[in-house]
Each structure stands twice: as structure tokens, then as C-alpha cells.
Symmetry: C2
Subunit: 461 residues, 2 copies
């Protein structure tokens, strides 16, 4: 992606073009639930018909079907907010093949050996909006993008430290020293591969949605285990936390119009034409109105962490680029997240103003060193879409996790049972820890990944 590309794509000279009506060339992306839920239809026994007649069913994999690391999973559809469950999930083994370097071949690449070389595991949650298509495409695609990106750098992951040249041959005798001084580690290649995979997947989704005449976007939260480390990549407002006996550690942070205010305001400062004269980039405590004209009111611009006062002018009365606070904050009055995949065609209602230039597909990646962690019996990672975190805090989830696992040591399906219990806790049932009125009406999807016995003896060949 280049700056020229950005300008051509988002800053056409003269009038903004009307959005092209999508002309479907391929059939629509078919709706489906995650593959690993097969056999657990909502009419089957594994869907939890719960204790209340009006309750929505909680679904999880059929007993006997095991997910990577014996992880647990459960999901619930929203309370008729949309026809489909817009959350999606994927998990599986990640097989990285090695493309060996043919030394004789004049430094060209050759696939001499395409056997599995490195194996890891992959769990992913996608929370769709504007339709289920983007999340389904992401669940079908992102792991392949990641595999491809990892295979492109796998030679660099073999050495203790990534070599300056992928061939491993030093052009300059002090190459290893330069890499050492920059502090570049194997895990930086995995982080780079995750960053590239999210971007590649975003491009695939853009092409596929255009081809099928569909729209929509999704957040993406991914956990990947590789060579003794667990990588958590997040673009959106889902969340992953580590729960141990004495510790609750966030493994991701949320990307919303509120948390990314300065980045978004700065883009509007650099390219004011993106707002087409319809929005103000400034933040005020509330939307201003005629009575405020000429008054000095609290405001913040892109370069400010603090607040100051400014004299209200007419242009300040426009609708704010970011409006509302907390979970209610919206970008251009439209979107509650600032990172994710898709949304290539999304425009502000009844205008040509595009959302996409303000959205990032690149995730933030955190790394958990499993060898250093020495995971204990009840240590787990909980990954869930925002529907769970809207009503339960990290600490509340941790308490539920600890007490459930303590009382269910023998059940081989206890991690899926735990995922189901967490979802039921958001539904306002009698034994729920949440307060009256704090019920999740959103789609909720939860992975519980046990860490015990996973740190040691990771296979690297």
C-alpha cells in the first residue's frame, strides 16, 4: 500500500464519486456456523435449552469432538437484533511447510521439501457488523493468510536470531551484529507475519465482498501457539485475558473510536476532505448547538491528551467525527470499532463519506512466553467477543473461571462447560454475578484455552 494508492482510493479530485452499486459476479457467501459445531444443531442435546423457556440456546461442540489443546468453546445468538449470529469462530492446527533453499540454484528459491516443518495451533473469533459475510470470509481465510505469511519467513525462524538475509548468507560480515543490535528476535517475525496476514485477509475480504455484491465488516481476535509462545493479535473490541490462580492479565486492548481518538482526529486533520464538510474533527463533551455559539467550551484536538476551552464557531456545530463515550462512542455516527477487516464499501448514511480510510486492519500483538510462565493446572486464556465484556469485568470472569474449574476437575469437557457457564452468566439468570438490568443481548462467543502442559517440548520439526 502506498500513499499514492491512499490518495487515489480515498481522495478523488473534484466531486466525490457516488458509491458504485455492487454488481454481483459470484454467489453470496453462504451463512454457516463454525465447522467444529457440526452435529450440535440448536435442536440437538448439546444446545443448552436452558432453564427459562424464553432463553436463547447456548451452543458448543458435541461431546467427543476435541479442539486444539482441548480448548472449550460456546456461543449464543443475539436477542433478534439480527437474523443471523454475526460472530464467527475458527480453530485448528497450523502446519507451516518449509521451502528449502537450493544453494546450487543461483540463489533462487525452490521448493525441495514441502513437508510440514513447524506446527502450531490457531483460535480465532470474529465479530461481524452490517451482515455476517465479512466474519464468515475471515473465518474461512485468515488462517490460510497466516500460514502463507509464516511460510514466507520460516527460514528466518530456524536460527536463534533471524538472519539479515533470508538466504542465511551474509552479504556484509557484520550482518549478525546489526540484527543483534536492533534486538530483532524470532518472535518479531511471527508478529510481522500476523500483521501482514491481517492486511492480506482484509484485501481478500474486500475483493470477495465486491464480487458477491455483499457488504459488512468484522473485528478479529486471534491466538496462535508457535514454538513455545502464545501470540494474541487483536483488531477490534473483542478481548483475551490470562487467568491464573493469583493473576488476571489482559492479553489484548480494545480499538474503538474512543481509544483511537488521536489517530482518527489526526487523519481528519491531514485530510479534511475525508469529512466532506459534514463533520467536525474536534471533540466536545456533548454535541454543540446554536446556544453555544460564541461561548468558551471544553474541547480536544488531535494533538491533545488534556482538555482546553475554545470559543464556539459555526463549524463546531457540525456532527462530531467521534461522538458519544464508552461503548456508545461512534466513528462518523456509524461504527463502534476502529480496527477490523472489511467495510470497504461502508459509507455514512445518505452520504458518500467513507469509513474505510479511518479503519486499520493491522492488529496489536502481545506475546506470552509459555516456557517462562510454567502454567499450572487451572491456568487458562479466555477469549470472547464484546458481548461478554459488556456485562462482566475481567475480575468477575476470573472468579467464575477459578471456582468452576476447582469444582469440575474430572470432566474432560470442562472447558466447553466453562465457556457455556460464562455465556449463561451474561443472560441474567438467577445465579449470575451481574446486576439487575445488565444483560447481554448481543452475540457472544467464548474460547477457553487451557495452558497446562503446553509450555514444554514444543515441536519444531
Amino acid at each position: 500500500m502506498s500513499a499514492d494508492w491512499f490518495r487515489r482510493r480515498f481522495l478523488p479530485r473534484g466531486q466525490l464519486p457516488a458509491p458504485r452499486p455492487p454488481r454481483p459476479r459470484t454467489s453470496p457467501v453462504p451463512y454457516r456456523r463454525p465447522r467444529f459445531l457440526r452435529g450440535s444443531g440448536s435442536s440437538s442435546g448439546t444446545a443448552d435449552a436452558s432453564r427459562r423457556p424464553d432463553a436463547r440456546p447456548v451452543r458448543s461442540p458435541v461431546r467427543g469432538r476435541s479442539l486444539p489443546w482441548n480448548a472449550g468453546y460456546a456461543e449464543i445468538i443475539n436477542a433478534e437484533k439480527s437474523e443471523f449470529n454475526e460472530d464467527q469462530a475458527a480453530c485448528g492446527k497450523l502446519c507451516i511447510r518449509r521451502c528449502e533453499f537450493g544453494v546450487e540454484e543461483d540463489q533462487e528459491w525452490q521448493t525441495l521439501c514441502s513437508e510440514e516443518f513447524l506446527t502450531g495451533h490457531y483460535w480465532a473469533l470474529f465479530d461481524g457488523h452490517g451482515g455476517p459475510a465479512a466474519a464468515i470470509l475471515a473465518a474461512n481465510t485468515l488462517h490460510s493468510c497466516l500460514r502463507r505469511q509464516l511460510e514466507a519467513v520460516v527460514e528466518g525462524m530456524v536460527a536463534t536470531q533471524p538472519p539479515m538475509h533470508l538466504s542465511g548468507c551474509c552479504v556484509c560480515p557484520s550482518d549478525p551484529q546489526f540484527v543483534e543490535e536492533k534486538g530483532i528476535r524470532t518472535e518479531d517475525l511471527v508478529i510481522g507475519a500476523l500483521e501482514s496476514a491481517f492486511q492480506e485477509c482484509d484485501e481478500v475480504i474486500g475483493r470477495e465482498l465486491e464480487a458477491s455484491g455483499q457488504v459488512g465488516g468484522c473485528t478479529a481476535l486471534v491466538a496462535v501457539s508457535l514454538k513455545g509462545k502464545l501470540y494474541v493479535a487483536n483488531a477490534g473490541d473483542s478481548r483475551a485475558i490470562l487467568v491464573r490462580r493469583d493473576e488476571v492479565r489482559p492479553l489484548s486492548s480494545e480499538f474503538t473510536p474512543e481509544t483511537e481518538r488521536q489517530r482518527i482526529q489526526q487523519l481528519a486533520f491531514i485530510y479534511p476532505e475525508l469529512l466532506a464538510g459534514e463533520f467536525t474533527r474536534l471533540e466536545f463533551p456533548r454535541r454543540l448547538k446554536g446556544d453555544d455559539l460564541g461561548q468558551k467550551v471544553l474541547f480536544r484536538d488531535h494533538h491533545m491528551s488534556g482538555w482546553s476551552y475554545k470559543c464556539v464557531e459555526k463549524s463546531d456545530l457540525k456532527y462530531p467525527l467521534i461522538h458519544g463515550q464508552g461503548r456508545q462512542a461512534r466513528l462518523l455516527g456509524t461504527l463502534a470499532v476502529s480496527r477490523g477487516l472489511g467495510d470497504h464499501q461502508l459509507r455514512v448514511l445518505d452520504t458518500n463519506i467513507q469509513l474505510k480510510p479511518f479503519l486499520l486492519s493491522v492488529p496489536q500483538v502481545t506475546v506470552l512466553n509459555m516456557d517462562q510462565l510454567e502454567p499450572q493446572e487451572e491456568d487458562v486464556v479466555v477469549m470472547a467477543t464484546d458481548g461478554l465484556w459488556d456485562v462482566l469485568s475481567n475480575e468477575q470472569v476470573a472468579r467464575l473461571v477459578r471456582s468452576f474449574l476447582l469444582g469440575n476437575r474430572e470432566d474432560p469437557h470442562r472447558f466447553s462447560e466453562l465457556a457455556k457457564m460464562l455465556i449463561r452468566s451474561t443472560q441474567g439468570t438467577d445465579d449470575s454475578p451481574i446486576q439487575e438490568g445488565q444483560v447481554s443481548y448481543d452475540d457472544v462467543s467464548v474460547f477457553v484455552i487451557p495452558l497446562h502442559h503446553q509450555g514444554q517440548g514444543h515441536s519444531s520439526r
Copy 2:
């Protein structure tokens, strides 16, 4: 500042204009040392002629001259790197006047009472480059800018929570609720005032340097005490730390081409014309050369935290936008800091490529709540320019501070003595904790601010 202004200033159409030769209209900014050092000339007894004949003198205020909070100060000039000491310092009482609102006056502002309303204290260090002028101007000016910015919002600082309107009158009955929901506190107004003051000061320096035909820039590290809180604002590579008996807490972070890589690369991505085809925005472990062409080498772009490999093209052989690592990292081969004041005319040697568009004058501000801290006898804040931190770690400084204060409880000038001792520790004397060869040849300036008895009973009228 608007985006249009940025484009007019930095992105002229067609050929880049040659830098205007400065035409002095005013006399040059005269060189001087901080006012509070008067009477402590290097020939006087307070300049520490040290134990070695070749040692440079360490200067500190004359005994009997007390700085705010009985703070200590010391400085040393560099080892003939430049003719002048390019560090500067300032400190004093900060008197904020109140401009009372004339209710009868049809909602206009009137100064009914210009008496001192709020008092605070101010300590500042400036580390100049390209000449001493910018740092001297900053030392002469920044506190006035800050006072002006604080006076502009002081009415908002009176209430428990800043009002939506500076007049205090609600236009909308739920105004307090909006401010409450946004979590806007009094300290956010001080942070906003510090941010605005740095920017205002940068503009003043730009005008003054142009008028006097001088050049240069400086970093700025400021501590301000106000209403029971200590604010530390930093733009550059100086550093402030809190040292307590059981704790060492950083109160600032450094802004260098290395720590601000992504911001700087992103600007070059958005405005490639800023590099005039002479630099590559990509980061590589070392500068590439002809032999690397066609090879796959490690690289990072603006959107990446991790590393990946790319096939080297001819344009990758250009000089990197950010080159070198750690203390050696340079922006456009020229500057070691990425935030600060001044440098309005700075260009890459023998080109018209400007540094200023890549520099921020806005500081990062951290807040220390003195009431919550309950400072003990030996709790201090140490502020120093990079010359100190180049050779001493936070932990080493903390150990020196603790052992010195423990052994010098009675001396009323012990904080200046401590500042002098810290500077001597960077000069490679026998009892210095630094290793052989790790000696600071840079200018070094140090404030030591004692916190005991400062949290309680702060005056607010």
C-alpha cells in the same frame, strides 16, 4: 494550526524553495547561564574545581540562594564539543491570576481582579542543539506561556470538575453530566495548558530566531506543582524519575527517532514529497548497498511492530529516514530527538529537506498526586538532561540518591550537593559507579526536587 497551514508550509507546489538566508532584524539572543546561578561564576568557590586538574567545573547556586521547595541544582559544560553550554535551566514561583467574570457585562470577560489567585512552582531543563539560542529563549519564555495558558482556563480549575462552559453557566441542563461521563478532571485542564504552552513557546522561538538570524532547537522537560499535584511534561530525551526508599518510578519517557519510528515513518508515507526522493522511509537492520539488490532482507514499515523480509529494490538503497539505533539513531541523518522546540529552519546538510515537519513540540505529561503519595523524608524527583542518563541507569541514580541523603541529613544545601555528586559520577572519577570508558562528555544539568512536606495544605487562594 490547520492541515492547510501544514501543506502551505511544508509542501509547496513544484520545486522546493531554497532556504531563505536569515536577515537579522533584531540583535542575537545573548548567551547566559540560568539566573539562579548568579554569583556562582566558575572562578568562584561554588564552582567545584574538583579533584583532577583536567576536570571541568561543576556549577550550582551559591549557598544561601534557595530554589523553590529547596530544590538542588548543578550543571557541567561539555568537553569542548561546543563553545557554550547548550543546556539551560529555569525555575521559580508560578503565579496564576484570576480574571473574574462580570455577570452584568452581557457575558463578556472583564478583569475585575488581577491579583494572584493560584500559586505553583516550576522547574525546567532545556537541552539545546545547533547553538544555545533556542534553549535560552525557551528558558526565558516557556513559563510565561504556561502562566498565560493557565490563566485562560483558571475559572475552569476552581470547580470540583471543569464546567462545560468557562462562564460556569449551563447552556444545556445536563452539561455537568456530559463532563462527568467524559471523565474530565481539573488535571486535564493543566495537561491541556502544558500542551498549549509548549506549542505557543515553539512559535515564539520560531519568530525570535528568524528575527535575530539565529538557528537551533532544544528539548524541554518541565515539572510544575499545582494544587497538590506534580505535572511532568517532556518533549525530547531528558528524563525525570521519582526516587523513594522502595521505589524508582519513571515520570517521563524519551522521544527519539527510535521511540517515535512509527509516527515518523507514517508521515513520510502520507507525504513522500517530504523526503524529496533522497531517503527511504523503510527501516533495515543496516544501510543497504549494491550487493543486497534482489536479496530478501529484514525490514519494517510504518504499520509494523514486528519484522518481515522484502526483496531489495534500488530505491531501498537510499539513506534511511531513521538510521542507527539507541542513542545513535538519527532522523534524516541529522537529529537525535523527535520532539522539542525550535529547529524551524533546520535542513538536511546541502539539501532543502526540512526536519521540522517530522518534529512535535507537544509534550507527554504525567501526573503525580502528592496527596496520595504521602512523601517521606528522602523522596525526591531527579530531572536531568540526557548526559546523565547516557552513563547512569535509573537504578544507579536511585542508589546514589539514597545513600547520599542518608549520610547528609543535616546539610540545608544537601540537594544541590546531591546534584553535584550525581554529575561528578558521570565524569569517571575514582568513586564513580560507572564502568571504565563510560564517561559523559555532554553538557549535563540536574534538578533534585525534594517532595517531603509538599503534598499537604497546598494553597489555592
